[in-house]
């Protein structure tokens, strides 16, 4: 499989103003710090991590909703950082986003038809019968009835609104869709419907998905590969099977061990690792490996030197000093 998107050294530092009026100081908040990874055409890459680890920021960087501080993004063979407004507009049609909050993601003053049609109008369509037919097709594809078109967002439930959001994202026939926690705000029963819908649409339209979530079981269900993020860095990335069976990074191990086992026979099997403390502040990240403050296996090297994300031949990459120095 070829890579649809390649990010290299991708970095976003937000400037946080602090200090008094006279002694203004700005501290960089390292939301995303030198991230390298790629998304293959047609796959679903799951991106997991704790709240505040920068996964949403990373998703928005990739589709240039946020300007990166440094680094490059190659999308479909084209460098898309530093494109001017006109060039960027045509690239945008190929990459769309689905948001977490189905209430904030739809303009309350527009009908569903207007919401789904807007991307078409932006890209030169006229608001005529052809555009309306396209919108109707899209609504049918996401499982909404035709009469949903003339209604306003407040008339729908959360799951239905999420379907409208999906229709809006897909109406331009994008290659890549960033799903920013698309099911986190929904009821569990509705979550399953939306996840299944995304999978159906993916195979039907040949989509590539970046699926951001903090729920490991949802990610396990939908992803082909999984990337784990901690404090602005990707610490481990691999295919789903390997990462859930044999995680290499201590943080990934702790995350997976924290998922409750449904099978009572498996419960209590394998030592449960508890992580001590909270995620450190991205304003003042720890030296060396960012995880060393909470890592049960930390050695002196971890405090002084940040491990690079190193891959093996089977595509399993991990940013940890330990696998090299010690068998886990």
């Amino acid at each position: 499989m070829s890579d649809l998107l390649v990010a290299a050294g991708l970095t976003k530092h937000f400037a946080i103003k602090s200090g008094s009026f006279l002694r203004r100081a700005t501290t960089p908040l390292r939301a995303v710090d030198g991230v390298n990874f790629s998304i293959r055409a047609g796959e679903t890459l799951g991106l997991v991590g704790e709240s505040g680890c920068g996964k949403s920021t990373l998703g928005r960087l990739l589709i240039r909703l946020i300007e990166p501080t440094a680094g490059s993004i190659h999308f479909a063979g084209q460098e898309i950082t530093g494109l001017d407004a006109r060039a960027l507009r045509s690239v945008r049609a190929g990459m769309q986003i689905i948001f977490q909050d189905p209430y904030g993601a739809l303009n309350p003053r527009m009908t569903v038809e207007d919401i789904v049609m807007e991307p078409l109008l932006i890209h030169g369509a006229r608001p005529d019968a052809a555009a309306r037919a396209k919108v109707a097709d899209m609504l049918r594809l996401v499982g909404l009835p035709a009469r949903a078109a003339e209604r306003f967002p407040h008339e729908f439930s959360g799951g239905q609104r999420q379907r409208v959001g999906i229709a809006r994202a897909l109406v331009l026939k994008p290659k890549l869709v960033v799903c920013d926690e698309p099911v986190s705000a929904l009821d569990v029963s509705v979550q399953a419907q939306i996840v299944n819908l995304l999978q159906d649409l993916q195979s039907e339209l040949g989509l590539t998905l970046l699926f951001i979530a903090h729920d490991l079981s949802v990610v396990k269900h939908i992803s082909d590969r999984v990337a784990v993020m901690y404090l602005g860095k990707i610490v481990e990335i691999s295919d789903k099977r390997t990462i859930y069976r044999a995680p290499l990074h201590p943080y990934t191990q702790a995350l997976i061990a924290a998922v409750p086992a449904l099978n009572p026979a498996l419960r209590g099997r394998g030592k449960r690792q508890r992580l001590a403390g909270d995620i450190p502040s991205a304003l003042n990240p720890p030296s060396g490996c960012r995880f060393h403050t909470r890592c049960p296996h930390a050695i002196a090297l971890c405090r002084s030197e940040a491990p690079a994300l190193r891959g093996s031949a089977d595509g399993h990459s991990v940013a940890c000093h330990l696998p090299a120095t010690r068998a886990i």
Binding site: A85, M95, F99, N107, R109, P119, L144, R151, G159
Partner: protein, 295 residues
């Protein structure tokens, strides 16, 4: 897709346009209806002025001076024997014209300045510091200062009041725009490739309307009140053009012997301001319920 049927059932059949729902809630709000009636009386009086008054409001009649309200002179006459009925009704028209003009100027320029400052962070600081400088002056003092420089006239009173109140309106619009700019539907529009103009026009301004409409209804009351103050001080429309302010200024000297001269325009002013405030409260409760908690 399997779940389509289940979803089909759940989409409501009864359509309700948001505008109609809002109107229905407004007309169920008792104080709003009361305010609308009070304000409606004044607006109607102003609109119908040429038909409901028969005497020229500037026509002197020394024989009839200081007549108390009676069947001949509904509101009595003033010190020159002019019919107060005519003067107060024509004064209502002028108040409505001035109030309406100030509100219209605020709606246009307050929105423009507020939206520009809220949406483009680069010019925010410059615009808002200028705004703050204007807002630092007490409203009526600034209005007096501007009319004193420009000279007393109806147009100058409108201009002065617009300059005084536009910074306040701009602040309110800016605050809404800053909140709305971060909404996810705006992010979605950016992701789809929408330009600034489309985002402002379709996504931000329509959603910023509620607090603006509430503000403008209160502003109408302030503008009418301030205009009365200006013309009371001789800085509004030039006599003999009747305004509530200058009728009261002239009636002040005869307050003890002929109290109706100052009372009647005063009551008219009170009805206007009370009506507009009730109307504004109603609009606020219905359009923007969050504001009620804050105030």
């Amino acid at each position: 897709m399997a779940p389509a049927e289940a979803v089909e059932e759940a989409v409501p059949h009864v359509r309700q346009h948001p505008l109609r729902a809002t109107l229905r809630r407004l007309f169920r709000h008792r104080l709003f209806v009361m305010g609308l009636c009070l304000f409606g009386i004044i607006v109607l009086a102003g609109v119908l002025a040429p038909w409901i008054t028969d005497v020229d409001p500037t026509k002197l009649s020394m024989r009839n001076k200081f007549r108390p309200p009676s069947s001949d002179f509904v509101f009595g006459t003033d010190n020159f024997g002019r019919s107060l009925w005519s003067r107060v009704i024509w004064g209502a028209q002028l108040s409505m014209i001035i109030g309406g003009s100030v509100v219209a100027l605020n709606a246009v320029f307050g929105t423009l300045i507020g939206a520009a400052a809220g949406y483009f962070p680069r010019i925010d600081n410059a615009l808002m510091r200028f705004n703050d400088a204007l807002m630092a002056f007490p409203a009526i003092l600034l209005a007096i200062g501007i009319t004193a420089v420009l000279g007393p006239s109806t147009a100058n009173a409108i201009l002065a009041l617009a300059i005084v109140y536009i910074p306040r309106t701009a602040r309110i619009v800016r605050a809404s725009v800053i909140v709305l700019r971060e909404m996810e539907y705006v992010q979605a529009a950016i992701a789809a490739g929408a330009g600034h103009w489309r985002i402002l026009r379709h996504h931000i301004l329509p959603n910023a309307m509620a607090p603006l409409i509430v503000q403008l209804s209160f502003l109408f009351a302030y503008a009418v009140l301030s205009e009365a103050t200006l013309s009371f001080l001789g800085l509004g429309a030039v006599p003999p053009t009747p305004t509530w302010g200058n009728i009261m200024a002239e009636g002040r000297q005869y307050m003890t012997d002929s109290p109706w001269i100052i009372t009647i325009p005063g009551v008219a002013l009170m009805i206007t301001v009370l009506g507009l405030n009730l109307l504004g409260d109603g609009l606020r409760d219905v359009l923007d319920p969050r504001l009620r908690i804050q105030q």
